[in-house]
Symmetry: C2
Subunit: 421 residues, 2 copies
C-alpha cells in the first residue's frame, strides 16, 4: 500500500500554472482568535457546516456540487489539536487531489471503486486516494462520523457550537438530542466573528482575488466603444475569471440609464456616446471574494456626471481617512455620508459605505449606521460610497483594504478616477 | 408613475441573443402534482427556501450572491392562486430585470435609491424597477413578509409545509411558534417529490442544458492530442459554458491513470499516447442541470480498454432497455449491474446506475438497489454505468432521457462509442 506522502503531492509546489488551478490546502483559520471566542463562551469545539466555514477550518474549498450534501469540519478550542473533516466517501478523491494535510478524515456512506495502483502506472493523487481509501474508517452516516470526531478530540459531553446554517435540520435535532441539555449552541455567528480578523494566508488570497478582479476590470473599461453591448463586456469578464480558475458572481455592467441599477444580472443596452458605464464586479478565487468597482464615461463627462462623481469620490476618500484600529464602523459611515452631502448630493442616503469581505462577499461587520463595532488590525473591508439615481445614472468606486496598525493598506490599485474612453 | 408593463419588458421576446442571456420567467412548476401532494398531506401551501425550490415556484433563478440571504416563495395548493415571492428590497432590481410576472412580491428591509425615470431617458427594466419600488409594500423582515403572503392567500391557520433546508433556523423557529401546534411540517422532500415529474417547460430547459453540455463535450474530445494538459481541456469547457450564459460545476477530465477518478476538480496530467480520457461534465443553464459523459482514447484502444468499454456499454444499454413508466428504479439497477457482470467485469459493483436530474444535479429518485419507486412519464434521468479501476483506468457513458408513455426519449445525442483521437 502506498502511504499518503505529502512531499509526493502534486500540490507541494506553490505555483499556479497549468496543473495547479487552485491553492493547496494550508491553514487559514485564526486559531488564537477561535480559542478566545470559544473560551469566552465555554465551548470545547465548533462544528462548521457551511462551505465557507468548512473551508476556513481545513484551509481549502471543497466544491460540493450539491449544497445539501452534509460536509462538516470540527475546529477544536485547543489550538494545538488537529481539525477534523467529515465527508461522504464519494468526496474522498477530491480530498486526495487537494492534498489535504490540515485535518483528519471521517468518512460516511459507501462508495465502490476497484483496483490498486501498486506497481502500476499511477499519479500521486491516485496513490493518495488509494491510501486514504485503505486507511480511513467509514461511519454509517454524518451524525455517527461527527460524534466520532468529537469523541476522538476528547470533547466528551462538553458544550460545543454548531454552525446551524447548512446542517440538515434532522441531523441537527439528532445531534442535539444525543448531548446534555443546553450543551449545543448555534455557532454560525461565532464563525463569522472569528473570521473578522484575517490571517496572513487569508490576506494573501484576498489580494490575489482582488488583483485578478481588477485585471479584468481594466480590460472591461478598454472594451467600451459606441455600439458595444453590455452583455459582450460582461461575457468577457466571466470568461477571464473562469480562465484564471476563479468563479464569477454578480457582474454589474450598466450603461446609460442602467448605470443607476445597483445589481445587474441581465444585459440590454448597447453603449451610446455620453453613457456612463458603472462596473461592480464580484468573483471568488479559492473561496476568497473580490468585489471592486469603477465608473467610466464614453466621451466627455457632462457637468452632472462630473459633479456627482466628485461627490462620490469625496465620500470614498473620507471613509478611507477614518479606517484604522479602534474606530467604530458607524463612525466611518457617518463621516462618509456627511461628506457626500456636503459635496454636491445633499439628499444622499445609504445603508452602508462598505462591508467586510473574506470567505463571504459580506463578511461580518458592515460600515453602516447601526454597526458600532470597532475595527481591528487584520480586518479586510470593501469601501464603497455609490450613488444611484434612476433616470439619471449611477457611480461606483469600490476598493478593498486591510486594516494596519496605523491605518490601512490597499489590496486594490486602479486609479480612482472617472474613466474616459 | 410608469406602470409595470409586461409588453414593455425587455424579456417579452423569447430570443436568446445578446441582451437575453437567460430565459424569461415562465411557469415551471407542476401545479397539478403539487395540488395532489398538498391535498394528500393536508397542506394549504408550501414555502420554498432553497434557490432551486424558489426558482421552481417563480419560474426563474434569482442568483443570490450570498446563500444565507432569506428568499422564499409560496406555492399555494389551489392551482389557480398566484405564487408569492418574498425578497429583500435590494433584490428588487433583479426581479425587474427578469421581467417576473409569475408571482406577487413581498419585500422586506430598506434600500435607498434616488430618482425617477419619468420623462427621462430610461430602459424598460429601469421603468419596471421604479414602478415596483413605488407600489410594493415593504415589511420589517422576512418573517413578517412571509406571514403577510400566507394571510393574503387565505391560508389562515391551516397547515403548511416549509422547505427546511435554507430558511434561517431562527426564522423557522419564530414562524413555527406563531402558528398552531403541528401545523408546520418540513417540506424539502415534498418539493423534491413534486419536482420528480417535469413540466414541458422544464424538459425544454433540460434539453437546452444537455445540448450545450454535449456541444462542449464534442469540442473537448477534439482537443485530445499528445502533450495536451487536462487543465487546458477543462478550461476550454469552463470558458465555453460561461460564454453561453451557463455555469460550469464539476468538470471531470481525467487522462491515463486519472481516468479512474470518479470526481475530478484538479488537473495534473499531460495526455500520452494510449491514454484513456474520461469526461464527466456538469453545468447548469437557467438553473437546470446537465450531466453527460463519454470516454476517449488517444491512439488505438488496447484489449483491456476495448473489453471494459464494451462491458460498460452493455450495462448502459440494458439500463435504457428497462426505462419506461411502471418500472421500479431498483429493477433498472439490477438489470444493468447484472449485464456488466456478465459482459466481462464479474466483480462489478455500483451504488446506482443513474439519477433524476432537474433543478438539482441529483433530483429525487436514484436508479439504485434500495429505491423501489416507480418511473412515471415526464421524469428525467441521467443513465450512467461507469467503471473505475485505480491503477488501470475508468469509463463513462452518461446520457439524459425523459420517460415517455412507452419508453424514453434522449435529450442527449452524441454517439455512445469509445472515441478515438
Amino acid at each position: 500500500m502506498t502511504e499518503f506522502n505529502q512531499a509526493a503531492s502534486p500540490f507541494s509546489s506553490a505555483g499556479r500554472g497549468v496543473g495547479s488551478t487552485a491553492a493547496a490546502a494550508e491553514s487559514t483559520a485564526n486559531r488564537q482568535r477561535a480559542e478566545r471566542v470559544m473560551r469566552r463562551d465555554g465551548l470545547q469545539a465548533l462544528v462548521a457546516t457551511t462551505p465557507e466555514n468548512v473551508g476556513y477550518v481545513i484551509g481549502s474549498q471543497l466544491r460540493a456540487t450539491n449544497w445539501t450534501m452534509q460536509i462538516y469540519a470540527v475546529l477544536p478550542a485547543d489550538p494545538t489539536a488537529r481539525p477534523r473533516l467529515i465527508i461522504p466517501t464519494n468526496r474522498l478523491g477530491v480530498v486526495a487531489q487537494i492534498g489535504l494535510t490540515t485535518a483528519d478524515l471521517y468518512l460516511y456512506s459507501d462508495f465502490f471503486l476497484e483496483g490498486s495502483p501498486e506497481g502500476r502506472a499511477s499519479t500521486p493523487d491516485v496513490d493518495a486516494f488509494y491510501a486514504l481509501l485503505q486507511t480511513a474508517h467509514t461511519y454509517a452516516g454524518p451524525l455517527e462520523a461527527l460524534n466520532a470526531a468529537l469523541h476522538d478530540l476528547g470533547v466528551g459531553q462538553a458544550a460545543v457550537g454548531i454552525d446551524e446554517m447548512r446542517i440538515s435540520p434532522s441531523v441537527y435535532a439528532q445531534f442535539e438530542a444525543g448531548r446534555p441539555e443546553r450543551s449545543v449552541i448555534r455557532a454560525y455567528a461565532l464563525f463569522r466573528e472569528i473570521r473578522q480578523v484575517k490571517t496572513p494566508v487569508e490576506i494573501r488570497r484576498l489580494r490575489e482575488a482582488a488583483i485578478l478582479n481588477e485585471r479584468l476590470e481594466r480590460e472591461l473599461i478598454g472594451l467600451i466603444r459606441e455600439g458595444v453591448h453590455e452583455e459582450e463586456i460582461a461575457a468577457h469578464y466571466r470568461r477571464g475569471i473562469v480562465s484564471a480558475g476563479a468563479v464569477p458572481a454578480m457582474v454589474a455592467v450598466g450603461a446609460g440609464p442602467r448605470s443607476a441599477l445597483p445589481l445587474i444580472e441581465r444585459y440590454f443596452r448597447r453603449i451610446e456616446q455620453g453613457d456612463l458605464v458603472r462596473f461592480d464586479l464580484c468573483s471568488h478565487l479559492d473561496g476568497y471574494w473580490a468585489d471592486t468597482g469603477r465608473t467610466a464615461v464614453l466621451g466627455e463627462a457632462d457637468e452632472w456626471q462630473t459633479k456627482h462623481f466628485a461627490a462620490v469620490y469625496a465620500g470614498w476618500e473620507t471613509a478611507l481617512e477614518q479606517v484604522r484600529p479602534g474606530v467604530q464602523a458607524s463612525e466611518i459611515f457617518e463621516a462618509a455620508v456627511g461628506r457626500v452631502r456636503g459635496s454636491g448630493i445633499p439628499h444622499y442616503r445609504r445603508q452602508h459605505v462598505g462591508h467586510a469581505i473574506g470567505l463571504e462577499l459580506y463578511d461580518d461587520i458592515v460600515l453602516g449606521p447601526s454597526d458600532h463595532r470597532v475595527l481591528e488590525e487584520g480586518m479586510v473591508f470593501c469601501v464603497e460610497v455609490p450613488y444611484y439615481e434612476l433616470g439619471a445614472g449611477g457611480f461606483q468606486i469600490e476598493d478593498t483594504v486591510v486594516v494596519t496598525p496605523d491605518g490601512y493598506e490597499f489590496l486594490t490599485g486602479m486609479p480612482r478616477v472617472l474613466y474616459r474612453q
